[in-house]
């Protein structure tokens, strides 16, 4: 592994030869790389605008888009997954990719994105254009180890030839300022850079260790003389108090910026037996919880809670600790008193006294209380100034606790309290006032009150010269008080036997017990750290209580803290706010950094599945009614101790109450349509009040047939259909009625015309003529005549008849006309057997009209042609020789014919009246 990065959601990303992984504290999820990069080692990782940037050894660059959804697969399945389904996208600008290893990325506040390479210098991506900075432009070297952005938005590059500070105020305009040894840089070869909280740049070098460049003063400070730990590969800062340096062959070095002692004291390497002591560190990372992540060259990954450290001491069982104003650490043991100077512990007392309490007086003297042998007063340089015992008037030789106020030192012993004048060592004892019992703890507070923690007599306070016994606190009867401390606000905190911790604000008491998530009631030490957190020491760990929120965080061996049994009341706070605790194995230090860390697990919804199919829940929030089986996958990122994370979730709209679970998923089959919000909280100790919450709101739509618009629309359409149906039915009825009426009228007209007296008269006249001349013909004539009438009567009821039937009728009619007009009338008719239908009597009416309205004589014979025309028309045409005096008529015949065809919905009847001919075209149906 070469690169490590924590993204804005709290995930730890790791990249190296083995690929890219996302770590949640419990498992590494591999992220498939694009095929072409599968074998390419990853060199650098960075995040900006929610996108993860991945830089490769080959110079290739990939982006993991914002809000990429990872499937909740087991790592095994992912490994088998098709690598072409990589969520990573190649980043290829028009200018082409670098061909040298990508050693770093950096986004500057003005929107520029910087890419450093080992071999090609620095690239700046500005306004969608890539610019290169190399030695021709003034860059110190094109081999860049790392880059960092300072508080002014300038890019610092670490090279073998010093530092180049680059910026691009305008496209193509390059600004480069080089810092070399000539400017005071201790070493030409710069291998690590890190901006601290104050905006100053920490510089890690090849030979000369580290130094700081003060941006405001433009000068170097904090040089480390006599650095012996080899090349620095990476740096991490913790507040303004500590720098941790990864080195090329000496593991990790902790640099204490507050320690006023010598350089050697400031730089503490790992203990010799530590596995990382002689390893090469490739990368360091500080996460939001304050954990230090370490990548070791061979691929191992370490994380440590460096806030809690164990300092090994020559003797075990540290019974008392104290840090003096010079930063020296004093430790009381059964074998005597030790003081740490130049990184080494030495005996501070000539004899092996059993020291159980320590205190630094306002004049700088160290008071060391022993078990059975009184108290020793030491000059800061180590001389014993006084040794006070029972012979000198101490109430008891065993001094359990020491405090002081305004030139007076108070000693709590196994037999009452002794007050000592700091200057002349005159004594005053209190026994009866305190019940003569053991006094475990004593505290002089900021208001000049003296507090006593007694064995069985509760809490006693000496205020304005009077002792006051406090036996009741928050409805508890106080018996034994083990520890007393005061916070900056003046609240008095005290730990008890069996009732946990109390806070006395001056007006009332507040109790904290296991119900308030204290780890245990066996509190062995109590202190307030520099960030005003209450530190509670137990034999198996440490609680850190945040008074404002009541939040308690527990640290033990499982959360990266050293396993050490904290000794009874062996605890103190130094001037830097660090808390020191004597323990079986040595001295524990709980560091306080002036930097805020996250105290709660970060809730993350990792996937939302519908019917086990993952959905893009970042953008999809509306689901159809049948997509109603939801599974939510989530994780609470808490790298301090992932095992402790508990989840509390509720689906607003479905769950009435919160569900508390250890599982990483929640499933909801068969959700009815509605609005839902999934709320997730995480906690590492079971108390969910005030913990961060993440929500996902979504809607399951009503099925379409239940949605208002659909119902309304359906009703409208139904109404419309019904209405138009009724309308068309009415129309049809209307038309049918009209047709029937027309038909009846036309039949009537036809009949009327056939029994027209003229016709009958003419016919009979003709008949009379033939009877005498040709009786046989007469019989035939009468037969046709009667046939004609019978056919008319037969057809009048029908709507349509075949064309053949109509032609047969016309032929009968023609026979009658022929006999009457002889050669003066000619009908040219198409042969029989024509397909199609026609309205009954159509041709008969037309032929009759022709006979009726035209002159028929030998000089002017009338010819009627009946033929079929293209387009489905039957045409009746006669030569036009109108009678001068028009035949009186109703004009009903032709008009009715046209109208009836119209009612049938057929093609229109065409009437053409010209000089020479009269034509009627009737559609064949």
């Amino acid at each position: 592994m070469r690169a490590i990065f924590q993204d804005h959601l709290g995930w730890i990303w790791l990249g190296g030869k083995g690929g890219l992984f996302r770590y949640d504290g419990q498992s590494f999820q591999p992220v498939p790389l694009p095929d072409s990069l599968a074998k390419d080692p990853i060199r650098s990782l960075y995040e900006t605008k929610g996108q993860l940037w991945v830089g490769f050894e080959s110079g290739s660059i990939c982006i993991l888009p914002k809000n990429t959804v990872f499937l909740p697969e087991s790592p095994q399945e992912t490994r088998n997954a098709n690598p072409s389904q990589s969520p990573l996208q190649r980043w290829i600008p028009e200018e082409g990719n670098p061909r040298s290893p990508i050693t770093g990325f950096c986004a500057t506040p003005n929107g520029d994105f910087w890419i450093s390479t080992y071999g090609e210098g620095l690239y700046c991506w500005k306004n969608e254009r890539l610019y290169q900075f190399n030695t021709d432009d003034g860059l110190a070297s094109t081999d860049i180890y790392t880059i960092s952005c300072d508080s002014q938005g300038q890019i610092w590059t670490a090279t073998d030839a010093g530092i180049s500070i680059c910026s691009m105020p305008e496209p193509g305009k390059k600004k480069i300022r080089n810092i070399t040894t000539a400017d005071g840089l201790p070493d030409e070869i710069v291998s690590a850079l890190r901006v601290d909280a104050a905006g100053d740049m920490w510089i890690g070098m090849y030979e000369k260790g580290i130094c700081r460049y003060k941006t405001a003063q433009q000068s170097f400070d904090f040089p480390v003389s006599g650095w012996t730990h080899g090349p620095v590969t990476s740096l991490v800062s913790f507040g303004s108090q500590e720098i941790w340096a990864g080195t090329a062959n000496h593991g990790l070095i902790r640099i204490d910026l507050q320690n006023p002692a010598s350089t050697a004291d400031r730089c503490q390497p790992l203990p010799e037996q530590h596995p990382l002591c002689h390893e090469k560190i490739t990368a360091l990372c500080k996460d939001r919880e304050g954990l230090l992540w370490v990548l070791e060259n061979e691929g191992a990954i370490y994380s440590a809670n460096i806030r809690i450290g164990l300092l090994a001491t020559p003797s075990r069982e540290i019974q008392a600790v104290c840090v003096d104003r010079l930063g020296r650490l004093w430790a009381g043991t059964e074998q005597g008193l030790m003081v740490q100077e130049n990184g080494q512990f030495r005996q501070a007392l000539p004899l092996q006294e059993n020291i159980i309490s320590l205190w630094e007086a306002s004049d700088g003297n160290i008071w060391a209380g022993s078990f059975g042998n009184g108290v020793f007063v030491l000059h800061p340089e180590g001389r014993v100034l006084r040794h006070l015992t029972e012979k000198n008037g101490l109430t008891n030789g065993s001094v359990l606790s020491i405090t002081g106020h305004a030139g007076t030192v108070w000693l709590a012993t196994l037999g009452g309290v002794t007050e000592v004048n700091q200057n002349n060592y005159s004594l005053r004892t209190y026994q009866a006032e305190l019940g003569a019992g053991y006094i475990y703890a004593i505290l002089a507070d900021s208001k000049g009150r003296i507090w006593f923690g007694t064995d069985g007599e509760g809490l006693i306070v000496l205020e304005n010269g009077a002792f006051r016994h406090i036996r009741q606190a928050a409805n508890r009867y106080l018996k034994t008080v083990y520890g007393i401390v005061e916070d900056r606000a003046g609240n008095i905190w005290f730990s008890t036997e069996g009732d946990g911790l109390f806070c006395y604000t001056g007006q009332n008491f507040r109790q904290y017990s296991t119900e308030h998530h204290l780890h245990s009631l066996n509190i062995t030490g109590l202190a307030v750290d520099g960030n005003e957190h209450i530190v509670l020491a137990y034999e198996d760990g440490i609680d850190i209580l945040t008074p404002g929120t009541g939040h308690v965080a527990f640290f033990d061996a499982a959360s990266g803290a050293p396993a050490a049994k904290a000794a009874f009341n062996s605890i103190c706070r130094d001037r830097n706010g660090h808390v020191w605790m004597g323990a079986e194995e040595g001295i524990l230090r709980l560091a306080t950094f002036d930097e805020a860390f996250v105290f709660d697990p970060e809730p993350n919804i990792t996937a939302v599945s519908v019917f086990l199919q993952p959905v893009d829940f970042w953008t999809t929030t509306v689901f159809p009614h049948d997509q109603n089986y939801f599974v939510f996958n989530f994780v609470g990122l808490w790298f301090t101790n992932p095992e402790l994370v508990r989840y509390r979730y509720r689906l607003d709209g479905s769950d009435a109450d919160w569900v508390i679970s250890k599982e990483h998923f929640a499933s909801y089959p068969n959700l009815p349509p509605g609005q839902y919000t999934f709320r997730l909280q995480t906690s590492e100790h079971g108390d969910f009040s005030g913990t961060p919450e993440i929500t996902y709101s979504f809607t399951i739509r009503q099925p379409i047939w239940k949605q208002l618009w659909f119902v309304v629309l359906s009703l409208l359409i139904a109404t419309g259909l019904l209405f138009s149906f009724i309308r068309s039915r009415e129309k049809r009825f209307h038309r049918e009625a009209a047709l029937r009426r027309e038909s009846v009228e036309s039949q009537f007209a036809a009949l009327k015309s056939q029994i027209n007296p003229h016709f009958l008269f003419n016919s009979f006249n003709t008949l009379i003529t033939i009877i005498e001349e040709n009786p046989k013909m007469a019989v035939e004539y009468v037969e046709h005549f009667s046939d004609f009438y019978r056919t008319i009567l037969d057809y009048r009821e029908k709507d349509l008849i075949t064309l053949s039937e109509e032609l047969a009728l016309v032929r009968n009619f023609n026979f009658l006309l022929q006999k009457r007009y002889e050669e003066n009338f000619r009908l040219n008719c198409i042969p029989d057997g024509q397909p199609g239908y026609i309205m009954p009597l159509t041709l008969q009416i037309l032929v009759e009209n022709a006979v009726k309205h035209n002159v028929i004589s030998r000089a002017k014979p009338l010819t009627v042609d009946i033929f079929v025309e293209d387009g489905g028309y039957l045409v009746v045409r006669n030569n036009n020789q109108r009678k001068i005096k028009p035949e009186p008529g109703t004009h009903f015949g032709l008009h009715s014919l046209v109208h009836r065809y119209q009612l049938l919905g057929a093609k229109p009847v065409i009437v053409e009246d010209t000089e020479t001919s009269f034509t009627v075209k009737v559609p064949i149906l």
Partner: protein
């Protein structure tokens, strides 16, 4: 009609400008002068530009590409005479290109000179993908650019090819609003050249 021609011309001019920018022209006397080290000099080269606008495709090319690459320090210089571009959709277009857009009278050359980023072994035959970093001068406006291309070495001969885009705004080439639909805001340039090592 006149407007259309005008637009086309403008477009063409723009394109030519861009093309010229790519070509190198000004040889660095120190690097390329007589008596200097062996350099690859361009024997035949062509540069082509293409403007693909919604309403019209304009293409033109020039074979009067001059250029040289110095293998010793990986520097290069290219130049093209803007007036040498031909192949416009009409002569009017070409005129507009030269007069209105690229102002070929004032800025007769387009150049690109700089250094190849990748270390190329000019002793070895092969096809190299290279990036050339340099100053592109078109229409008298200089822009630093990285241009990606292919370089093929065969004995004493080099063949190079590259294609890249040139935004009009980079080189202060302004196109009237009315011809926006005819001239692309980014002109695509393609270059092909053969070079031979000469002392």
């Amino acid at each position: 009609m006149v407007m259309k021609h005008f637009i086309v011309c403008v477009l063409c001019g723009l394109t030519v400008l861009i093309m010229s920018a790519f070509g190198i022209l000004e040889f660095d006397a120190a690097n390329f002068g007589p008596g200097g080290p062996d350099v690859y000099q361009c024997t035949t080269g062509s540069i082509q530009f293409k403007s693909e606008a919604p309403l019209e495709l304009i293409e033109a090319r020039s074979t009067q590409l001059l250029g040289a690459i110095n293998p010793a320090n990986q520097t290069f210089a290219w130049s093209v005479d803007v007036l040498s571009f031909s192949g416009f959709n009409s002569t009017l277009q070409r005129e507009h290109f030269n007069e209105n857009y690229l102002e070929s009278g004032r800025y007769p050359k387009a150049t690109f000179a700089g250094k190849i980023i990748e270390k190329i072994d000019f002793e070895k035959d092969g096809v190299y993908s290279v990036r050339a970093k340099g100053k592109l001068n078109v229409h008298g406006v200089e822009q630093e650019r990285i241009i990606k291309g292919q370089l093929e070495r065969k004995g004493r001969k080099l063949h190079i090819s590259a294609s890249f885009s040139v935004p009009l705004t980079d080189h202060n080439i302004t196109v009237p609003k009315i011809v926006y639909q005819k001239i692309a805001q980014e002109i695509l340039i393609t270059v092909d050249a053969d070079l031979v090592l000469k002392p």
